[in-house]
Symmetry: C2
Subunit: 206 residues, 2 copies
């Protein structure tokens, strides 16, 4: 093992490995190997071994990998051993969907607060959460020490809200707004825009 700078493209694959391993665990598989993992992911076995070898030696020759051990290892590497609190800003359909989604807990996250600036939504209940006024966002998010946010406001509001989140101490933002956010370099930003992925596919259609 060599602890140099790990390429980001490798880091990006680790969550997928973890996802498949957690499915394997549900299927009661106790051990696996790079060939099987690769087949499930559409990735070569060599790549999986190389990626993992960046972080240590987790397998055993002749046998492969312990599913449980590799899950735990990847959770440590990806920093999701505990659940990160998440703030959702934007209580529209998408915010609703995220606030209701049951899949976060066993993958390292938990929605903790939901905000919106629409008076018709403020105070309303969404599952376990009461929609709070975005005007109070900075104070409340800072007080709760939340560092991860999901942004589901309209594109026109996204930049402003993102800046408020940063002021509140958030350092990782997953934005569903179809615009490029302009934020300090130390802030992690990822985007979800289904249309980008649809257009990627239509390129290959007749």
């Amino acid at each position: 093992m060599e602890t140099k700078k790990i390429p980001d493209i490798v880091v990006a694959r680790l969550p997928r490995y973890l996802q498949v391993l957690q499915h394997m665990k549900q299927e009661k598989l106790v051990t696996t190997n790079s060939k099987v993992l690769g087949d499930r992911l559409g990735i070569s076995a060599a790549q999986i071994r190389k990626d993992l070898s960046q972080f240590g030696e987790f397998g055993k020759q002749g046998t492969g990998y312990s599913v449980d051990f590799l899950i735990n290892t990847l959770r440590v590497i990806l920093n999701v051993t505990d659940a990160w609190k998440i703030v959702v800003v934007g209580a529209g359909d998408l915010g609703h969907a995220l606030a209701h989604y049951q899949g976060f807990t066993n993958r390292g996250f938990q929605v903790s607060m939901v905000f919106d600036n629409d008076p018709r939504l403020i105070g309303k209940q969404i599952g376990a959460f009461t929609v709070q006024d975005t005007a109070d966002l900075i104070d409340k998010v800072r007080a709760a020490e939340i560092h991860v946010a999901m942004l589901t406001v309209p594109a026109s509001a996204a930049q402003k809200v993102a800046e408020e989140l940063v002021k509140a101490g958030v350092t990782a933002i997953l934005s569903y707004a179809p615009i490029v956010l302009n934020l300090p370099h130390n802030i992690q930003v990822q985007y979800i825009d289904p249309i980008l992925q649809l257009q990627h596919m239509t390129y290959y259609l007749e």
Copy 2:
């Protein structure tokens, strides 16, 4: 210009270029250049020029690119000059959000049908759509000649529904289910799983 095989990684960037160009058009910008585009996208100017040059010569030395012309060109390349009809399967919160979303039309898509297998949802109205029974999916999607689908059913149902979509003639699927689908090679598949992106970011957090 050389029409060899275009690398997929280049194709994946084109929708982002188109997105930014459409914003520029809204801002009434008439021309732009690789430097400005690159700054907005966090990509080098050379890369943008190189990517575009794979498809032809669209710029003018000393001036840059016409925003309108480049938008039209990218729409042709990405095959989104007309609007693709989309079927949404799964009428939960996420399906609702997608059915209501106003952003598809001017980017090459239009939701046309919504399905679910839950008797409590079938027949219900979601915006302009009546939720239809998944039992009728194959016939109705085939009859409507829909080739693009968004899958928002629970993970446990996703593989089965995806196979039905393929039988119905769908060749591009955007899946929100957090599992890897197993489908014929000629089917385009893309995934949206916010947790993968959250975990990618937490790797870099303290």
